[in-house]
């Protein structure tokens, strides 16, 4: 097979894997938008906060250590324990539920039936507050995430493709793990939203807050539930991205990677987030591979948005979004 074709295949496969990672971030946005019509600007910061909390709990870091030491003149930094990854993940999920409750209690509850733009603004404020809070709580240093995720080239794929084509494909084990986790997550979320009472209630709230209230659905409970699930999705995204780069403040910028995915897949569709992620991942990687060398490279960031815009022009509601019908 021609070398160029094999390379393009490899780039495409890696694009699919990268797309899964983008989709993981986009999923959190979709969940909250679906349930409350809120575009949650804080989703990227939630991933950062969740990942920092995970590492902090796992390594036994004392939260707010700098503040405590400054006020009391102490010198405490560590509790002296190291938690098992599963326990740390479980505890972090608990923290994200608590966070969801706090958001509902102190922000959303006061903004019921306010215009969408007000809710959006509230999430901008929340994002910046959380960033500062995370800094105060866990510090700004880069933390190594070590929960046993595999990393590096997958030897089996490398060998098999080499034997077949004379060129070994590079696929990162971390990307394979992310794909499996994302697949499980999506199946669970789809089953939850389609086949459970709470899931149906969530969709009802998304359609109309007041109508949902009138049939006895607790808005508070649904919002806490949705923000909790989105917090858990943020935790998964934070783990996958944090494993690549260490857990640090730039993790909040992964939200930028989710925006074209949302534009393409629609803000209300879980499968849309996945398919959108895959299209963006493959599209940007192939464009960089085929066209990038002729125009100086570094095309991925902007090309993802161009691709999303093209889709937007033809399908404003996104690939899988609900069709927008306004009755007069």
């Amino acid at each position: 097979m021609p070398e160029q074709f094999l390379w393009a295949m490899e780039v495409m496969l890696n694009g699919l894997m990268a797309g899964v990672l983008y989709a993981l971030v986009a999923l959190g946005f979709v969940l909250i938008f679906k349930a409350s019509g809120v575009f949650n600007y804080a989703q990227g910061v939630m991933a950062l906060f969740a990942a920092m909390t995970l590492v902090g709990l796992q390594k036994g870091q004392v939260p707010f250590a700098h503040l405590i030491n400054t006020i009391f003149g102490t010198d405490v930094h560590k509790f002296g324990w190291e938690l098992a990854p599963w326990l740390a993940i479980l505890l972090t999920a608990g923290v994200m539920v608590l966070f969801a409750w706090l958001v509902q209690r102190f922000i959303l509850q006061h903004l019921v039936n306010q215009p969408d733009i007000i809710l959006f603004m509230a999430t901008i404020g929340l994002a910046y507050f959380m960033e500062g809070f995370a800094d105060l709580m866990w510090g700004a240093d880069i933390k190594t995430l070590d929960i046993g995720l595999p990393q590096g080239v997958n030897a089996w794929i490398d060998e098999t493709t080499f034997n077949l084509f004379g060129y070994g494909f590079f696929i990162d084990n971390l990307d394979i793990a992310a794909t499996i986790v994302a697949a499980l997550l999506v199946v669970a979320l789809v089953l939850f939203s389609q086949y459970t009472k709470q899931g149906r209630a969530m969709r009802a709230v998304a359609d109309d807050h007041q109508a949902a209230l009138s049939v006895g659905i607790s808005l508070r409970f649904i919002w806490v539930m949705v923000w909790s699930v989105a917090g858990f999705v943020a935790l998964v995204a934070g783990i996958m991205w944090g494993a690549k780069s260490g857990v640090q403040f730039s993790l909040s910028l992964i939200a930028l990677k989710a925006l074209p995915v949302l534009m393409l897949g629609g803000f209300t569709s879980i499968p849309g987030a996945i398919v959108g992620g895959l299209i963006i991942g493959v599209g940007e990687k192939l464009f960089e591979f085929l066209v990038g060398p002729y125009i100086g490279g570094a095309t991925e960031n902007w090309f993802a948005y161009v691709l999303a815009l093209i889709f937007l022009v033809f399908r404003p509601q996104g690939l899988f979004g609900e069709k927008i019908i306004e009755r007069v």
Partner: protein, 429 residues
């Protein structure tokens, strides 16, 4: 009576609130928040701790206490300019912008205001030409010198011949990352290697395309001009594709502990340039422990001491203090003005004896600043990461850059700047 009391209270408040004149004011445009906080914090700590040491141990510079004005920029150019504007009226005698973008913005402003700027190892390379950039200093080295030192190290590794080799430059797609391209293109012509350019967009969390290209094309060496998360991801991706780490060389902003620790054992062998020593095995650190950390006056938690970026901040502060000392000697005043500080910087002589006397023997290269040369001699060394010991080992002596190639580039670029800005170069003879 009430009015009298009010007037007295107001006068007292004004007196307390006004900047004390018997001070030397050094603003620190730091970033302890945002995506680059992990790198900005240790630098800012080192910068602050050295000034605290001078105040606590020596009673200041020539009897004048140092007042540090820290202003948070978030590594954002607009905020950096705001910090400059809000602090320059406080009697600032020197700016350390800690950002190439902010430095570029401050060059015309500080030159017009008559306040010197020091951008050691960053900023506009051609500011090394003091005849054109009267108020800007970038000693002891700059990016073009760095690129040349990296190539010289590769030449050394390859027995002096790199013709036909391929060298890739993985760079942050910004003014900073693009700085070495021109130099590397000239060096490629001179030494006969081919140069592959691989830009990475901010912030650099996703670099799969670039590393697949490196895996396909197998360049003999990869140079990196990265910052922040781009560094950690690049080193992790290099490990993933099993790129030989000892053929992967970063500029000094891609060579801190932060950059390699996330990759764990796989980061072992990665190389980076530096213009000062890593570690805390120098007498001055005993004094920092005694007068700053143990006294509870450290800028941070005290856990960054001896790290690469802490040391770089400390080194920048030490150079500022020595320039201020020189300014005091030249002017005969202890309360120096920005113009006198500039004169001090232009006559700075960092000899090995002076560094040894400061408790920093061999910490940085010996160099002299002159009217014509604001960039020092450009010496840099190569350090290599030992993942087992979790420390950087210095593996070369200080290497001289190829001035034959770089000096004409500096002349050309600074001449273009002078022409654009109607600057008549000073006569430095």
């Amino acid at each position: 009576m009430k009015l009298k009391k009010l007037a007295v209270a107001t006068a007292a408040m004004v007196a307390l609130g006004a900047p004390a004149m018997a001070e030397i004011v050094f603003p620190s445009l730091s970033y302890r928040t945002g995506p680059y906080a992990a790198n900005g914090t240790p630098f800012a700590d080192g910068y602050a701790d050295y000034f605290t040491l001078i105040n606590e141990r020596d009673g200041g510079i020539g009897g004048e206490k140092i007042r540090l004005l820290e202003c948070e920029t978030g590594y954002n150019t607009e905020k950096g300019v705001e910090c400059y504007e809000s602090t320059k009226g406080e009697g600032a005698v020197l700016y350390e912008p800690l950002s190439t973008g902010i430095t570029y913005q401050l060059i015309p402003k500080a030159s017009a205001d008559g306040i010197p700027v020091h951008s050691g190892g960053y900023g506009r390379t051609s500011a090394a030409n003091g005849a054109v950039f009267k108020w800007i200093f970038n000693y002891p080295t700059n990016y073009w010198y760095g690129a040349s030192v990296a190539i010289k190290h590769i030449l050394d590794q390859e027995g002096g011949d790199i013709s036909g080799k391929t060298i890739a430059l993985l760079y942050h797609n910004s003014a900073y990352g693009k700085e070495p391209i021109r130099t590397l293109e000239e060096l490629a012509k001179k030494h006969g290697f081919s140069l592959t350019l691989l830009p990475v967009d901010h912030p650099g969390q996703e670099q799969k395309s670039q590393w697949l290209q490196i895996r396909r094309e197998k360049p003999d060496y990869v140079l990196m001009w990265g910052w922040g998360v781009m560094n950690q991801v690049a080193i992790q991706e290099a490990a993933n594709i099993r790129y030989p780490m000892d053929h992967f060389i970063g500029i000094w902003w891609s060579g801190s502990e932060n950059d390699v620790k996330a990759a764990g054992a796989k980061g072992d062998g990665y190389k980076a340039l530096s213009f000062h020593m890593p570690g805390s095995d120098f007498p001055v650190f005993d004094d920092i422990q005694k007068y700053v950390v143990d006294a509870g006056k450290a800028a941070g938690a005290g856990d960054q001491i001896g790290t690469v970026l802490y040391n770089r901040g400390l080194y920048a502060a030490m150079l500022a203090v020595e320039a201020a000392r020189t300014a005091q000697e030249l002017s005969g005043n202890t309360r120096i003005t920005p113009a006198e500080m500039r004169d001090g910087m232009e006559n700075l002589d960092m000899s090995e004896e002076k560094m040894a006397a400061l408790g920093l023997p061999g910490f940085g290269p010996a160099f002299k600043v002159t009217c014509a040369n604001h960039g020092g001699n450009g010496l840099a060394l190569v350090q290599q990461w030992d993942a087992t010991a979790q420390k950087w080992n210095v593996i070369t002596d200080y290497i001289e850059p190829d001035l034959e190639v770089i000096q004409p580039l500096i002349e050309e670029d600074s001449a273009a700047f002078a022409a654009e800005n109607n600057i008549t170069p000073r006569d430095c003879n």
